[in-house]
Symmetry: D2
Subunit: 240 residues, 4 copies
């Protein structure tokens, strides 16, 4: 009961503060606040996304951004866990499970996108072994040619079960936002893309920053499919 009140309180506060643009993003959450890995759920989410992006006629103007689905994509948190900044009480396997659990759902969302002719963009972080292109507060994690998602190392690979097909685009980024210091905006706009559907991990950072930059860069509809995103706990999706 208390937990329910907590969520409602949080949603109300959010509702008051966000602009109209973000409402359909919120409404989706409001209606389906639970993370589900059910494939059929994912199809239903895509249908909701279809409605949000203006119906079936517009798939050629829609791209799906698949964010950070690397083996260590959610490993940033694990990495941080090993350091001493997160409260020990929170070091639970749940964290990792959340990331792994989302893989089949993302795979399903991508399959639906491919059926509909949506342009699929795989957004991955890759860093130089020196860490020179990492956020400064994370550089201490890099030494001896190692660190999270270093180019060419195993941690930079896509999670098992996810494959980039011909005609799909792999975008390398170095910050939270997929648009920061990358050619993504050019790739999308010259392909006639006006609407985005976003799936992947780490709602509170990477997905949020990508969503806000997409709005700043004039994409018309930006939809987040929440049952194909993961964060440490379900409530984050409601309450980031």
């Amino acid at each position: 009961m208390t937990s329910h009140l907590a969520l409602m309180s949080c949603l109300l506060v959010l509702l008051l503060s966000l602009d109209k643009f973000l409402l359909h993003y919120l409404k989706k959450r409001w209606l389906s606040p639970r993370i589900s890995t059910s494939p059929s759920k994912s199809r239903r989410s895509m249908a909701a996304a279809a409605a949000a992006t203006g119906g079936g006629a517009k798939w050629s103007e829609t791209a799906m951004l698949v964010i950070d689905m690397q083996m260590l994509g959610w490993g940033w948190l694990m990495w941080d866990l090993q350091k001493d900044f997160v409260d020990p009480a929170m070091r639970s396997p749940m964290l990792v499970d959340g990331g792994q659990a989302v893989v089949p759902t993302v795979a399903e969302a991508v399959a639906v996108a491919r059926e509909r002719g949506i342009y699929v963009v795989w957004v991955v972080r890759e860093h130089d072994p020196s860490g020179a292109d990492v956020e400064i507060f994370r550089r201490r994690y890099y030494s001896g040619g190692k660190g999270p998602t270093v180019k060419g190392l195993k941690g930079a690979d896509l999670a098992d079960g996810l494959v980039i097909k011909e005609g799909e685009y792999k975008l390398v980024k170095t910050r939270f936002s997929a648009f920061f210091a990358t050619p993504l905006d050019s790739v999308l706009k010259t392909s006639g893309i006006k609407n985005l559907v976003i799936v992947g991990v780490q709602t509170p950072n990477c997905i949020r920053q990508t969503v806000f930059d997409a709005v700043a860069l004039d994409y018309e509809k930006v939809t987040v499919i929440i049952d194909a995103t993961a964060a440490a706990r379900p409530e984050i999706h409601l309450c980031e």
Copy 2:
């Protein structure tokens, strides 16, 4: 009691999902979650910011960004209120009061910054009367040469009680983030600025986007003084 639990739950969820970088930003909130307009409080906040930015020796490397303190700066929400997207139950004078109440606190924060030789940057939105440089989801608000914060109209002026002094910089922006499509990063970096202290209104949008872009752009310390920011309700500061 329930409300207290709601806030705590929200904070815990947040804590789990944010990177270490944002911790000092969070910690400030954790310790002082109430919005205060008391000048002494503001001085104490600046002292906390001093600690966060590495002590008194670094004021010449610190800038204060004063965000959206225009007469209609928080008017976006009012504007939206008149349209039909926000739930009628939330159309309260509180909203506007929140914005107005913050003015003396911001003035005090600026006064402290000036004493310490911190570089003050006044970030304001100004739009073309045509609305051609507004986010697309807001363009419908512009017609007949009028709309929120149109260049040269009264709504674009700073709130009463706030004045730009010689040697301070006025930056015009057109998006949430003060860094988006503006020379702000150049102005700050060529002035030797490494740390930012942020005050102003609209935490969930403008301040958050500015904070995240500042991190992406490698500013070392980014501090938000929460008793000099306003949103519709205090809880937003805890729970955006």
Copy 3:
């Protein structure tokens, strides 16, 4: 004769090094290497631009950028002349005459653009009195609240005979390129603009940088009308 050979040699060298994209830009120059201030000439140039941008049907997808037509727009050179970097032999009134002479031609080009429904964007430099947003190698020109094209001072006004009409956009920039740290790309793309016609002063710096950024930003056709641009001497248009 020798001079003619010099120009030809220069053109050949250029031809070899430029990409296909720039050819129509070059061809225009090749065919009409003389700067003319004749209004009828300007109409003919617009017709050539029409051909270059795909015919009359596309005017709604074309914008005209009018670059740096401020009273001191070409004053940068004058300003520099007073310093000791340009060879004294070159300090001739010709320099200024070049700038002033172009005004009626630009006015004519703008008139033709308006007739055709082309979106007109006035690009002007405006700087903070402190010089904090000027290129670093020019900051020494700013002190006591004065310097070239300071916001609100007379030097920032448009040259006599040029007026911004309702529905046209005034863009403030702080670097050579009109796209650098400005919302220009957003303003143009959300207005459906795909092609650019450029007129104004200072071919070797501001216009060239704007042209190259426009190419990088995926504008399809970029045309420079050379009889409505000015630089210190006609040959610069051939040989920058």
Copy 4:
């Protein structure tokens, strides 16, 4: 004789139009207008660069950008040659020779940089097999997963004799300028870099755009070593 006059005329015109900033760049050319592949020449050029960047004490604040030294780096021109846009009379082996001849000089310049502790950045173009991230006027060159400098294909490799060492940075770009839509500015500024020395191929496009963006982005000294750059013919270096 005529040729000498042509060059002089071109230089004079350039001199008139360029800003003071570019003068040391010009002066180097004025003094050493011939392309040389002699290693000792390269050492002397580095000494000149040392003077330009403020002496030996500043090497830790200087980076060397090595531009487009890929096997097909100058292949863009060859590629274009096979199409029908360049005058047939100019299809000479000289073009390719120019590119190949520069390799030992660049290798020598890099060796000198390493000795001095200058941070070396290897800037390479790499494109998606689909061509989705190429300039639009070049997309027709991409089909069936092939095209110039496609990621993973041989043409994207560095020219023989050039090797990236540990601690050096490889930057992937998709436009002329090394700064366009890349993390280069962040990598350099967070490494404390204030001055740039530039070597490589294709002066009129890639190097020039990179130089101008570096100026716009507030780098203090930008030096181009002309005997380690190549374009189709030596005169281009004087007269672009």
